[in-house]
């Protein structure tokens, strides 16, 4: 007899497609948060499958810190043009100019935390009732507890102690006016799953995931790309090095890894033998043991 068995990647894919369709069915005005990173790229790929042969029925939202890798922006614009999706950009620079947030100063200044205000403003201005994100539960301890359909109050806050129980594949997206949801279709994927899926499906990703030479400097043992957005300490001398990025975020807080991996297969081998988590090179999580939990409660991604 025929064996009806799904590999774990196909089962995860099926679950994610189900979640994306559930979002489209339950909400009036959902949008996909798109950073140009691999997780949001995979979410978009899954959304294309979920609604094929129709177009993805929601726009992409990019929260632009102004401190982007050029390569990511080029990738974003190409993807938007190719697939004819609508792009909404929320600008952190605008939030700063309007006096809604204050730019951090000092050597560790980052716009990462400021994004939350811009994100919530963009959600409100565009009347988005469900923001789909590429968050994964394996990334970080606080994320491990978040629901697939995650409720936000009218201040955009997450209350980890008061989450709705989520059973079977029944997702409760009911809300009051002014409240919104975050939905995480790839909650159950690991970093490895994402890479394997990108390989399996041959999904294009920004070039900075692959090994390349660039000007970098060393801070607290982490390699950072040198850019006009970084305040270098006198002892921090930029130099050229062969590196790649394991995650893509704001330039001011995303560390690079010393890596020769130039193909997906090589990246996968590297990830498999890696001894630090991908967020280990993220300065934003290192601020305190509960850094992510604090940011999430305020309405972070």
């Amino acid at each position: 007899m025929h064996s009806y068995r799904l590999t774990h990647l196909k089962e995860l894919e099926s679950e994610s497609i189900h979640i994306l369709r559930e979002v489209a069915a339950q909400f009036e005005n959902p949008a996909l948060l798109f950073s140009g990173g691999k997780d949001s790229i995979v979410c978009f790929h899954l959304a294309r499958k979920a609604f094929f042969p129709a177009k993805v029925p929601f726009p992409l939202v990019h929260i632009d810190t102004g401190h982007n890798f050029e390569e990511t922006m080029a990738f974003r614009d190409k993807l938007v043009a190719e697939h004819g999706v609508r792009l909404i950009v929320g600008s952190v620079q605008e939030s700063i100019d309007q006096g809604k947030v204050t730019e951090e100063t000092g050597f560790y200044a980052s716009r990462n935390k400021l994004q939350t205000v811009t994100l919530l403003d963009t959600i409100e201005a565009n009347k988005i009732d469900c923001a789909i994100g590429g968050g994964r539960r394996d990334e970080e301890k606080a994320r491990a507890k978040e629901r697939v359909f995650s409720h936000r109050d009218d201040f955009g806050q997450w209350d980890p102690k008061n989450q709705r129980p989520e059973l079977w594949n029944l997702y409760n997206g009911r809300k009051r006016p002014g409240e919104h949801f975050r939905a995480f279709p790839i909650s159950n994927w690991t970093e490895m799953d994402v890479w394997q899926y990108i390989l399996l499906e041959n999904i294009p990703i920004p070039s900075i995931y692959f090994s390349h030479e660039r000007e970098v400097f060393l801070r607290d043992g982490v390699i950072y790309a040198n850019s006009p957005f970084m305040n270098l300490k006198p002892e921090e001398k930029p130099f050229r090095k062969q590196v790649r990025f394991r995650t893509i975020g704001d330039m001011s807080c995303t560390g690079a890894v010393d890596s020769p991996a130039a193909s997906l297969e090589e990246i996968i081998t590297e990830v498999a033998s890696s001894r630090v988590t991908e967020r280990g090179s993220r300065q934003d999580d290192k601020r305190s043991e509960a850094a992510m939990e604090d940011r999430k409660k305020e309405g972070y991604f």
Binding site: E13, A54, N169
Partner: protein, 424 residues
């Protein structure tokens, strides 16, 4: 993560399991041990745990700290919600729904159990069966988890004595015989020392069975999915309305049971209209068939009015269609269940409303007996109820199909999910 080969990774399957145990049964330590011994823990995570252990002054590295997610938990030293963990071996990828064991959090256990293929229930070898052990086993059975593994933990504290293990196993067998679990296993372990978790160790040579990890990697799960009863709840109607796909009208959904093939006759419930499957898309690819739990898009030969909430089924094998639901209920909310109260309801992709007609009985989940003279269903209570729905539902018994046999109730005032129901 021992195997770096790309090929191996593309041929793994997925096992979801829950872990339940009483407070201090060593559950977090066991999970920490599985993650640690399967090399799923990264240096920076271990470093963070070492730092936290030193701060607490517990002496050795406390593996349980790896899994305690939220700050409140770290402060109280207990797990308070469902947290999901991931690890992989060359054979399988695992998703752990880590749920707390104490009584006020039955709802979390039920939540974690709802999607699990397997339950690990920890029993302290020194204490034997506790009230909570029975409760955990009962919930595993109620939620239809096909495989239950009792881990008799802390064997190091009873000198790895075979007689202790055998006695507890016998007691558990007596209790489990009253439950509807297909496959029950027993393993003596020490999560702290590592015996019989990933490695056999040398302290229990009298035990001939598999280690916990061997069992997790090899237990047969493909047969747990219902591939017999054709069930396709329609989730979303795909209408491209482009020149290229002008007349395309596809019904998107996730197969809840059985296999659907091109050319198969189907009946639409609740309307009763019939048609034939014209084409099947799995992702963006045309396929001859789709099966549970695949997501797919189906087109039909005839133009029939079908929308979200309807179900495509095999004409010769149909679920029951009706407005009267007889179900086991687990109540999650601080506000007790109101008899004659109205609630919103979700069943597959169908949204409806219902009234609770009666509480047939309330269950004492420690003794598995009905509670005499008390039918008040409060938070964490389990009972049996009769509901009347506003629209007909296409229902299977939960023990036959966990997707078409389950539903949740929602408080229409607060929008909170207040109950899980398993159709009987």
């Amino acid at each position: 993560m021992k195997d770096n080969s790309t090929h191996g990774y593309l041929d793994m399957d997925l096992l979801r399991f829950t872990t339940a145990g009483s407070v201090d049964d060593g559950k977090s330590t066991l999970i920490g041990r599985l993650l640690y011994d399967s090399k799923a823990i990264f240096d920076d995570q271990l470093e963070a745990v070492e730092k936290a252990s030193a701060k607490r002054g517990t002496g050795e590295v406390d593996l349980s700290l790896l899994t305690d997610g939220l700050r409140a938990e770290r402060e109280q030293g207990i797990t308070i919600d469902v947290a999901y963990r991931y690890f992989a071996t060359p054979r399988r990828k695992f998703i752990i729904a880590d749920t707390p064991g104490h009584i006020q959090y039955t709802r979390n256990m039920v939540t974690g159990a709802s999607t699990a293929n397997l339950a690990i229930i920890l029993v302290d070898a020194r204490k034997g069966i506790q009230e909570q052990t029975n409760r955990h086993a009962f919930i595993a059975s109620l939620l239809g988890i096909p495989h239950v593994v009792f881990c008799i933990n802390k064997m190091d504290l009873v000198d790895y004595d075979e007689a202790v293990f055998t006695r507890i196993q016998r007691e558990l067998e007596d209790f489990s015989s009253k439950l509807e679990v297909r496959d029950v296993r027993f393993i003596p372990i020490s999560a702290l020392k590592g015996d019989m978790v990933v490695d056999r160790g040398s302290n229990m040579n009298w035990y001939q069975g598999p280690t916990l990890m061997y069992l997790l990697e090899n237990i047969h799960i493909a047969g747990d999915i219902n591939h017999i009863d054709r069930r396709f709840p329609v989730q979303y109607v795909v209408r491209p309305q482009t020149t290229e796909h002008h007349d395309f009208r596809g019904f998107a959904g996730r197969v809840a049971g059985g296999v659907l093939r091109v050319g198969d006759p189907v009946q639409v419930l609740p309307s009763g209209f019939s048609s034939t499957i014209k084409s099947i898309l799995v992702g963006a690819v045309e396929s001859e068939e789709c099966f549970a739990p695949q997501s797919a898009t189906i087109t039909l030969q005839d133009e029939i009015d079908i929308s979200r909430g309807d179900m495509l089924v095999g004409p010769n094998n149909q679920p029951e269609v009706g407005q009267d639901v007889d179900a086991m209920i687990c109540w999650f909310n601080e506000r007790p269940l109101q008899v004659n109260g109205k609630y919103a309801l979700k069943h597959t992709t169908r949204d409806a409303r219902c009234m609770v007609k009666e509480v047939t009985y309330k269950m004492d989940i420690n003794t598995l007996r009905k509670v005499e003279g008390d039918r008040a269903i409060n938070m964490n209570d389990i009972g049996r109820v009769k509901l009347r729905t506003t629209v007909p539902l296409a229902m299977d018994k939960y023990q036959r199909n966990r997707i078409t046999g389950s539903l949740i109730l929602i408080d229409e005032g607060t929008n909170e999910t207040v109950a899980a129901c398993m159709i009987v």
